[in-house]
């Protein structure tokens, strides 16, 4: 067997991995930005907009590297604004509708926790470019998860109405959590090259962290084992992704190549 060099890394698999990371932050960043100007209080509005901007900033790094690996002369903007729904590799969780404020924050918490664990592992990636992005993003995400966890506890263990809304949000979103921990041949290639961990290996740490916060929030973890999937493989997205892209990509579709 040939020694493991950069050339030995399956570039097609690396591209898929980078698209998965960048599309997660792109679609969630866009979703969260939909709250701008609509949050229940000014302070939360600004905090959510900050989170959305952090996620879009991370997207520039992930998709910028993806375009470099792809080697077709593209860039992060082209990948974000000129691909269609079937080319996106984000997990279904991040494209789901915002719902009420509680549902948005529950989705944020479920994603932030996964992302913080994932980035912790990626900081030790054999690819220094991946490790550098993870290092920068991990500081932002450490704050995101602290904030979303606090809000989940505050609303879960709040009034009867806020508790019921948070439980309903958890019941709706929980069947989408499992997709973040599915593994396929792309992940196997990343593990073999030392670039990224096997997502399945993150599950026990995730369950421990999420379980602790949800218990504190007096919320019950649903026991169903069913997992919606198809986003990260591109097999099938929900109907919601098309609607996200329609508003997100509108300008580049109507005025191709427009800049400012």
């Amino acid at each position: 067997m040939a020694p493991m060099t950069e050339n030995a890394v399956d570039q097609a698999a690396l591209l898929q991995f980078l698209l998965r990371m960048g599309d997660n932050t792109l679609i969630l960043g866009h979703r969260v930005s939909e709250w701008c100007g609509h949050s229940p209080v000014l302070e939360e509005d600004i905090a959510l907009a900050n989170t959305a901007l952090d996620l879009i900033g991370q997207t520039q790094l992930w998709l910028g590297l993806a375009a470099e690996v792809e080697g077709q002369g593209g860039d992060a903007d082209k990948l974000a604004f000129l691909r269609d729904a079937w080319d996106f590799r984000n997990v279904l969780l991040v494209e789901l509708p915002n719902g009420d404020f509680g549902q948005t924050l529950m989705r944020q918490f479920l994603f932030d926790t996964w992302q913080s664990i994932m980035l912790g592992r990626l900081m030790k990636s054999s690819d220094p470019r991946v490790a550098a992005i993870a290092e920068k993003a991990s500081k932002e995400v450490a704050y995101h998860v602290e904030r979303s966890a606090d809000t989940v506890v505050g609303l879960g263990d709040g009034t009867a109405e806020s508790h019921d809304r948070m439980q309903a949000a958890l019941d709706y979103l929980y069947p989408y959590v499992g997709e973040m921990f599915l593994s396929d041949e792309v992940d196997a290639a990343m593990v073999a090259a030392g670039i990224a961990p096997d997502p399945a290996d993150l599950r026990s740490e995730y369950d421990a962290l999420v379980g602790k916060v949800l218990a504190h929030a007096t919320l019950a973890v649903p026991d169903g084992k069913y997992t919606h999937k198809g986003g990260r493989t591109g097999y099938m997205h929900t109907e919601y992704l098309g609607h996200v892209l329609t508003s997100m990509q509108w300008l580049q579709r109507a005025y191709p190549g427009a800049e400012w």
Binding site: V41, L42, E43, I46, A47, N50, Y143, E146, R147
Partner: protein, 94 residues
């Protein structure tokens, strides 16, 4: 019943060695969230290295109507300013 979150006054230290300065106020359910909100509202452009928050009701303030007796007496006492001393050159910047 009052459903509003209490008001908090926010103080931020711009850099090490300077003191905290009042920058504004915000609403939050508790002190911990007030610090988080202050981080998001007042340090977005790298303004600070430390945040203090204090619930506004805990600040005791002088009354604007007492302005005369409180502050005017000091207006005519210029001898309290240390501006009448010649500072030797070799003292340097003070």
């Amino acid at each position: 019943m009052n459903n509003e979150w209490p008001l908090w006054e926010v103080f931020i230290r711009g850099q090490h060695g300077l003191s905290h300065r009042h920058v504004g106020s915000l609403h939050a359910p508790d002190a911990e969230m007030a610090i988080k909100n202050a981080r998001d509202v007042y340090t977005r452009r790298n303004e600070g290295v430390s945040i203090w928050v204090v619930e506004a009701v805990h600040i005791a303030a002088s009354s604007p109507s007492d302005k005369g007796p409180m502050y005017e007496p000091s207006e005519s006492k210029i001898y309290r300013h240390p501006t009448f001393f010649d500072i030797p050159d070799d003292v340097g910047a003070m």
